[in-house]
Symmetry: C2
Subunit: 441 residues, 2 copies
């Protein structure tokens, strides 16, 4: 989904650099690679996501007249360059790892091969989109896995950073294995099953809690009743009363505050004693992978989790250090050598090595190497058109397969004691040494 | 800025509750209040923001035919309700504290007074927008204040959670006192001064660093040169050489990695020895209020800060627990009594008490009370129209005045040792007690 005006969602320096490339006659092909340098401390892997929004953007990339007029009004740019921008489309090639692929530090997840002016102009959007999708999908995968097969539903629309992030959240959570989302715009757009219960305000608007339950169960058979507006266990008893009076009309109750493990056990007992074994228990309220794992470990009889805020912003790791770096220009490898941010020159490929269905290690090599292992980067855009289109269901299946192939010690939610092995090929190391020698640094 | 389809950016339960209100004949006026329960641990105050996007939304709120068709396709809703949604506009009233106002726990920052069906449908969008704007503006205020008058520029577009958050970031940072933003779409939309330097890729695309500097300085006189692509101090010397050769063409150098305080001192010496006292030093690279305060305290000769990731997501406190709660229905106070989330019933006003130009404490009272202090909530929307429109400059000036009126111990960036005093009026406490008695809990 590319909003109108997206080409101007860019840092000023992308435009000034583009003009400089044009003025200086730097029109050769560049290769930029998008990767992250570090996983957040608690993460063992990241789940690549966001390619769909990148391909949409690349296909529709253009500056409209109003944007050209705005750029002209800044008084910084020359007319020939503004004219060039007016007709500009993205003519290059994009390679990427498919969404739902497990990725690690320094592995390019996307490559842009294009005239340097064009490749430069894509930077801000590409980093922004792959970043937010990957950050949220990686968090959601942890939440889903902590629930060990119990249902997870995205309830986070109200706490994401803006509405686009709300769409990203619903899509990323579903991609990572969530069952549904409360966000209708996202459900409509991505074909995700919508899910919802009731809010405290509904109960409060009624003079009497049981009357509120009764009305809602009658209107929406199979619904979930929120029981903690006043006194939680009294609420459970009223919900049970309504469930007995209206068979099949109460699908579940929702606990949203207090000691969820203890309340779930008491609620289960109340429901079972009323012969309501089929009425399920859903929990919500500031949940994340840690609290869910705790509830599962405590044997809390909870059938599903509504997860909001902490998943919605990936609260413990809201960012990753994704960068978009020039690695080749005019056929020559380019590097960055400053301090801790060394960059190997040249276009790369990532090779994933497996044994007995489990990942053993990856090798980052030169694009033209052929070591063992499956190459992860695939062509996804060429000649102005996307080459790649997958359903969210396909991506979701891949995300599951990929996590199932992780080495066992990387699958859990605890901070990893050892990192997945990612090797740099000898050829890449030699290229870096040669470049250092040439630059005398 | 309200995107197309915004009415569907809502949780499913808002729609089911709306149908239930209609079916049950619950058509009376409700009062909902939007507030947060806790400040994040490191925060002494929050800076209210986001009202502009709320008023836009309220004015344009409607479901279009495609959305109604989507809702129908879910098979959950009855035709009379879908017909009602088709013609629905927001007919209620909104009161709010102006953007840039300093606010505290439990203080309503916004009130919606409307038929309960309409007020309910606004919830998800209102919380989402006031939340992200307030979270980011509150973080940006800390960054700006830590810089103690040195320039702060928003560089964060690539790391916000999606593109709307990028716009929110640029606006919130400027509102909080930043000088400029790199995000052109935001600058165009909000009239913010754009700012930018160059990226490593520009230097790398050239065979020679000094030639890159020379070309850029010639094309964009007054520009900032990024000096850390290879060897930082060697880069500074090359920038100095270009600055001497092209008087007036180099405005500043930018340090983006390494020990910024030490490098800034060495760079300043190199520049000064070259007679380039007017060339300024800008620093960037994972900065936040803490690292900026450290650089200022160390006497680093840095003239401005480019701040990205950590401000872009409010990394140390990416969320606040904003909620939207029913406090009155059909003229009667409503409350929520469960566990730790007690809610005082009834429509409220916030009264701010000052002495000698400094804030002393606030009182949350009943809307009809008249205690001392300035009432913060003002009418901003009525009869389908916004009553309130401010320039970003006006809001920015308020945000400065408000922080200057804070008690001294709350102005800094350290975790507060004492909280600002917010009292609940006796009348509100009596109303809660009366309601508890009535509900027998």
């Amino acid at each position: 989904m590319t909003p109108p005006g997206a080409a101007l969602f860019t840092d000023l320096y992308e435009i000034t650099m583009a003009e400089a490339y044009l003025e200086e006659g730097l029109t050769d092909t560049a290769v930029f690679e998008l990767f992250f340098r570090h996983l957040p401390p608690a993460r063992s892997y990241a789940l690549a996501a966001g390619l769909e929004d990148v391909l949409d953007y690349a296909e529709s990339f253009h500056f409209d007249d109003a944007q050209i007029a705005y750029l002209r009004s800044l008084g910084k740019f020359r007319e020939p360059f503004l004219e060039r921008l007016r007709g500009l489309r993205f003519s290059g090639e994009i390679w990427a790892v498919p969404e739902g692929t497990v990725v690690f530090e320094h592995e390019p997840v996307l490559q842009v091969i294009a005239p340097v002016l064009e490749a430069q102009l894509l930077e801000t959007w590409l980093v922004n989109q792959l970043h937010v999708h990957t950050v949220i999908a990686s968090k959601a995968a942890r939440v889903v896995d902590a629930a060990q097969g119990r249902m997870v539903v995205d309830f986070g629309a109200r706490r994401t950073h803006g509405f686009q992030a709300g769409l990203v959240l619903a899509r990323s959570a579903f991609l990572a294995g969530a069952s549904a989302s409360s966000n209708l715009l996202a459900c409509e757009r991505y074909g995700i099953p919508p899910s919802g219960t009731m809010a405290h305000s509904y109960v409060q608007a009624h003079a009497d809690e049981e009357r509120a339950f009764d009305a809602f169960a009658r209107l929406f058979p199979g619904t979930t009743l929120l029981v903690d507006t006043y006194d939680t266990l009294a609420g459970v008893r009223k919900a049970a009363e309504v469930a007995r009076r209206r068979p099949g009309c109460v699908g579940a109750i929702r606990l949203d505050s207090g000691d969820l493990a203890a309340l779930a056990k008491q609620a289960r007992r109340i429901l079972d004693e009323a012969g309501l074994q089929q009425v399920r228990i859903v929990a919500s309220g500031d949940l994340d992978e840690y609290s869910i794992a705790g509830l599962v470990a405590a044997g809390a009889p909870i059938d599903g989790f509504g997860v909001g805020t902490r998943m919605a912003v990936s609260a413990d790791a809201p960012t990753m250090d994704f960068v978009y770096k020039l690695v080749e220009y005019a056929g020559e490898g380019r590097a960055k050598l400053s301090s801790s941010k060394v960059l190997h020159p040249g276009r790369k490929q990532v090779f994933r090595c497996m044994r007995d269905g489990a990942m053993t290690h990856d090798v980052i090599g030169r694009f033209d190497e052929t070591p063992p292992g499956r190459p992860l980067l695939q062509p996804v855009f060429r000649d102005g058109k996307r080459l790649h289109r997958e359903t969210l269901g396909q991506i979701r299946a891949r995300a599951r397969r990929e996590r199932d192939a992780l080495p066992a010690q990387l699958r859990g939610i605890d901070a990893p004691t050892e990192r997945y092995r990612v090797e740099i090929s000898d050829a890449l190391e030699r290229d870096l040494a040669a470049l250092r020698a040439r630059l005398h640094v």
